[in-house]
């Protein structure tokens, strides 16, 4: 399906792990407690092959933070958490500052920020390591059902490839899993492969 070898995937996993580390550091500073983020797997597939298993989404409603970015390759990056988990993460992050009733009202803004931190960290790690610069839109948060999410990912004809990162996030004893999805056009994917090859060439 794509021109990515195991080596490419390993390099991407490494890059995103560095990004995840940066995101965890920023989040720790905000919550004043230890935060761990890891990227256990990276997957690149055709968007037609995408389903709830590949996204590790089990029904229900999702909070999705989206940023469009451009540079040597353009993509739409979407960070997905189940709505319940999103609320719990935000609740933990806000700590005792706010009561549970207030959380729902501030969820959008806080989720936007959480998504923004993780997306920016992953994008900037990629830009730093692969030596290019990226520009990005501001984050946008919305809530959607699993079907709506899948439908939107599949119908995107201009971006037939998806890169999926499974993300594990733990804040103060709470463990959460989410997915970071990059929607890529064929040429964007090809450009990404070129940059990874250059990077691999430079270190070998």
């Amino acid at each position: 399906m794509s021109d990515l070898s195991e080596l490419h995937i390993d390099a991407l996993t490494e890059i995103f792990s560095i990004g995840a580390g940066r995101a965890a550091l920023s989040l720790s500073e905000i919550v004043g407690d230890e935060v761990h983020i890891s990227v256990p797997s990276v997957l690149v597939i055709n968007s037609e092959e995408i389903d709830s298993t590949t996204l590790a989404l089990n029904g229900g409603r999702f909070g999705a933070v989206t940023q469009h970015f451009c540079g040597p390759f353009n993509a739409e990056a979407v960070l997905l958490f189940t709505e319940d988990q999103a609320l719990k993460i935000v609740g933990d992050m806000m700590g005792s500052q706010m009561s549970i009733e207030e959380i729902a009202e501030f969820e959008h803004e806080a989720m936007c920020e959480l998504g923004n931190i993780i997306l920016n960290a992953c994008l900037s790690a990629m830009a730093d390591i692969l030596h290019f610069t990226l520009e990005s839109s501001l984050p946008n948060y919305r809530i959607a059902s699993a079907d709506e999410v899948l439908c939107r990912l599949k119908e995107n004809a201009d971006q037939p490839y998806v890169m999926i990162l499974h993300i594990d996030l733990s804040i103060e004893n709470r463990h959460t899993a989410g997915s970071l999805v990059f929607l890529l056009s064929s040429s964007s994917l090809a450009n990404l492969v070129v940059h990874i090859d250059q990077f691999l060439g430079s270190i070998s």
Binding site: F106, N116, L123, L134
Partner: protein, 322 residues
Amino acid sequence: MNAMDTRRFDIEDIFNAINIGLIVVDTDSKVLLWNDWIAKHSNIKETDALDRQLEDVFSEPVSPPFLTALNNTLVHRLPVVLSTALHRSPLPLYNAYEANQPKTRMYQSITITPIQSQLNESCCLIQVADSSTSMKREKILRSHSEILKKEAVTDSLTGICNRRFFDAHYEIAVAEAKRQKHPLSIFMIDIDFFKLYNDHYGHIAGDNIIKQIANTLKSQLSRATDVIARYGGEEFVLIMPHLPREAAEQFAEKLRSAVFNLAIPHVKSHSFNQVTVSIGLCSGIPENDNNPLNKADTALYQAKQNGRNQYICLPLGENFEQ
């Protein structure tokens, strides 16, 4: 020629008129722009801020996550948002600087975006929005919603719980009594000859009787777990968990005499010449096929048949089902 060249106003005027804080800093986080809004809420003049490091401009410290976010934007050129929920008040900005007004630190919502200077330097635009007003609005909406929630379960005439609340509470109380096998007592209370009272004294007087009796019945309750509700027109229902039959019968008599002792005249009441109530009650540990409410209703019917101004008690869950 582009639109900017042909405009007939100064862009500085826009920056200063806009109802949002704008700061531009360069790569070394030196201030290049400080609009009137920021000057007003920080009490620091533009001339005192320009060309100084942003964090040195303020007399109070700026929050570390804000500085991290600013640094990230300067280095990585990616936009950053700082939410009110997670930061509250990152910059020392205040809502009121007028005399006699308490100085309150402003809740802020901040967006930091990378911009390029004319000299091709990497700069950052910091936009600060005052979220205090939206916080206030949220609080007002929340208190309204609490009032509405309370109204939704309250009977408007008597101020006691309404049927909607009772129905939900009843299900939970019966299920719990079944599960924990503890005795439950349910009382159906009806005002005797109420229709005749209404016809003779009028609807306003009728409403007053309903209110008075609701208050009297409610005043007999002392446990937080007991719930009384207006069930229908002149009918009330009372549910008391953990109350065995003997105590329930004594309580029913207490309710009956409390109403009787009000001694409200009712010339159309055939037997008593005053307002009275009939009470049907059932008491016991509910079993699976029991419907305690029906049982209490049957008991109430029997109390009416027996001559009113009395209670009848039927047992629950002892296989006396009809």
